[in-house]
Symmetry: C2
Subunit: 117 residues, 2 copies
């Protein structure tokens, strides 16, 4: 068993992870295969005010819980406002982009399968 | 894509789910295989003040984020206090029990593999 506060895991700016076309995005890797987790990984995403993730898609699903902040998610022609407590299921191959529209960080918990690529 | 507030999914008292030896526990199923999620499920657990989950173990992992409240997790002879922002990785076959030691609900986000039994 591992127990720690999420702030004990440092945030990596997106560019240091090879993620292009993001603005003000950093990612904390909370639980990964390196911890022995056999199936899926939990991450903590932080977007600064005005920041955004890339508009992207991939062949695996994401399960997301909005922790703090205010923002929107774009998917194709659809844009939806999101707030703390919102749950988002992104199916494989669905385009998506998160944008922070608020004045504090937009923080998301995100779970993806291991070795999704 | 599915987007909704977690409160839109009603909490099921543990006893209605066949979970015995729990006190003040209810579970909201946020994302499941029924939504098309191919690999893992996200749940929202609420423990009333003084409430607890069963002391139990199972052959699959859990990845947990403490959302609100104050409590502790017991695992064998070890007891650890938990607070909002804590991340907990429970490996397969590790015994565990959550207890709410605070005065408000203890709320946990919990992710488990599909069809774990």
């Amino acid at each position: 068993m591992k127990i720690f506060h999420y702030t004990e895991h440092k945030p990596f700016p997106a560019k240091t992870l090879g993620i292009e076309d993001a603005s003000g995005l950093s990612i904390r890797f909370l639980i990964t295969q390196g911890d022995g987790a056999p199936n899926f990984a939990m991450m903590h995403l932080e977007l600064e005010p005005g920041g955004c993730t890339p508009n992207h898609q991939h062949g695996w699903e994401e399960e997301i819980f909005v922790k703090t902040g205010a923002g929107k998610i774009k998917s194709g022609d659809q844009t939806t406002a999101i707030c703390p407590g919102d749950v988002i299921y992104i199916a494989p191959d669905e385009a998506h982009q998160f944008v922070n529209t608020g004045e504090e960080n937009l923080e998301l918990l995100c779970v993806i399968p291991n070795n999704p690529g």
